[in-house]
Subunit: 334 residues, 2 copies
């Protein structure tokens, strides 16, 4: 039997409004009988919903943070926004994790400023499972830290390795550095320094990987700065979206292709699902005290369900606790 | 009638040996009656071939630069390698352009050290047309400069704009900065500074674009540092390759899908061609005195043909001369 978990959910953060949030919450509760949800959002949205459903509580909030607001400023100013309140309830121990499809920047800022950074973590970072039809690959950082020092990447690798092993279930995950050549000496000054540090400090480091390897990577964890990680993640999503659009046009070209396409409908639909960001539903913010997962802005009900369940999984497997243990300075021997 | 052009071709640089180089050279000569080729490579490869074909000259060389050698060191040491000799003949005026599918690093080093940098160009950069089925987008830098200063990107934009307009034929090309958000203030410190400079100095600058926009970009020219450019270019290639592999498996799943696939064979094959790097055959090194185009290592005969023709096009349209004019410091008014 699973451990009882309380998750705060941002009822209004996504681009699609509250509907997929409520529907996804219900689906998550159905799938997990030991889950309880605190919905943060406008009273007229969360209160009637909480009244009508078991294991749902309402936490009315009066503010919301838009996608275009400056994240840290908005988090400091809007104390009664769904994102800040969701994180605060975790800080106060009323919940153990927070899920939002809202502004990634605001979620990161709130997780760091409100929940707090784990002692010893230099920079919390965002990890995600790349949308690959071949194998799960965890990439970190995918956007929390646009400016990094090489040493941060060692911790990104350590934190993402814990996530890959415990939450995604990859046995003995290996990690690689995203670089512009396979040889150890390739890359920018930053990449070369990061490579040397990772080589020295990480037993599971297997060297560089390149952009072309991302979806079928020899490593299970790919580490990079948040700028490169964000660009390459969005590039993957963009290429998949353009190619599937073109394939759809080809299938619809004439009656013969329409008929031919029927034979492959199931296969293509499964392929499309396998590269969909909805599959896992959320990207964890690693290195903060508590679980915080961010879904993409256009999360549908399935993505919300999966995001909430993934948040609960991070709580139950104590990802934060494992990271805290890992980064704790070893005590000096007597 | 086209202007007569002499191009030096590296007969041995690619992964596939000399065969596609010779075949591609013949195809280029057939397509362009005013083209002459000097083949640089081992005597036993280039001499019999030159003897047997018109408008082909042999330039025997005794050394070759491998993919894994340190580019600048190899170029300095191996004076009689096909890459160095090919560039030297351009420097000496015996040819106007050089094409190689060899080590990108060595070609860049040879172009810069042997042909020479155009006065006023801070850093030569490598541009490429992204493999998009939707529209041609020129990205620069895609790997020549792993470490950049923000000011370099202004020149990358100017040089790539000339290439996009003159060689690719895009009317009034616009340019964008590859960044991790659309808003002007987004991104790393580097990206923010580059953005401000581009905004101030480039009349055709239209703001940031993101990884997800690359294949269907509102801008015609996308500018970035060589590290990010290389990672995102290779990511595009990798995603396309993985997805086409999966689609092939779906098509071959059973007799029904095989039959259905027949109806879409032409459309899918055209789509695959449209995202193939063979289509344009080579990426130009912008900012050096003369034309230098680099093909990918596994260039087939078609890619070689297209690369040689593209090199001739860059010569005829005087891309180098236009760049020299652009970066020339304006004379002070009397």
């Amino acid at each position: 039997m699973s451990e009882h978990v309380v998750i705060t959910v941002d009822a209004v953060g996504g681009d699609l409004g509250s509907e997929p949030m409520l529907e996804g919450t219900l689906a998550a509760l159905e799938a997990d009988s030991e889950l309880e949800v605190i919905l943060c959002g406008p009273a007229d949205v969360v209160e009637p919903f909480a009244a009508a459903h078991e294991r749902v509580h309402a936490q009315p909030t009066t503010q919301s943070i838009g996608m275009d607001e400056h994240p840290a400023q908005a988090v400091r100013k809007k104390k009664d926004s769904s994102i800040v309140v969701g994180c605060r309830l975790v800080k106060e121990g009323k919940a153990q994790g927070f899920f939002s499809p809202g502004s990634t920047g605001a979620c990161l800022a709130a997780a760091t400023l409100v929940m707090g950074r784990i002692k010893g973590v230099q920079r919390p970072a965002m990890a995600t499972i790349l949308p690959s039809p071949v194998k799960p690959v965890v990439m970190c950082d995918v956007g929390a830290n646009a400016d990094c020092k090489p040493a941060y990447l060692v911790q990104f690798a350590q934190m993402a390795t814990i996530y890959a092993e415990k939450v995604i279930g990859i046995k003995d995950p290996t990690c690689a550095l995203l670089n512009i050549g396979e040889e150890d000496t390739k890359g920018s000054a930053f990449a070369q320094e990061a490579h040397a540090l990772m080589r020295a400090e990480l037993p599971n480091f297997i060297g560089n990987c390149e952009g072309r390897d991302l979806l079928d990577c020899k490593a299970d964890v790919v580490v990079t700065d948040g700028f490169t990680g964000n660009v390459s993640l969005k590039t993957i999503e963009g290429v998949a979206s353009v190619l599937f659009g073109c394939i759809k046009d080809i299938m619809k070209a004439n009656p013969a292709t329409l008929l031919g396409a029927l034979t492959m409908k199931k296969g293509l639909s499964e392929l499309k699902d396998s590269v969909s960001p909805d599959l896992y539903g959320g990207a964890p913010m690693l290195g903060v005290k508590g679980a915080c997962l961010v879904g993409h802005g256009s999360s549908n009900a399935t993505a919300v369900k999966n995001g909430i369940l993934m948040t609960a999984k991070c709580v139950r497997l104590d990802v934060s606790g494992l990271i805290a243990q890992l980064v704790k300075k070893p005590e000096k021997p007597e």
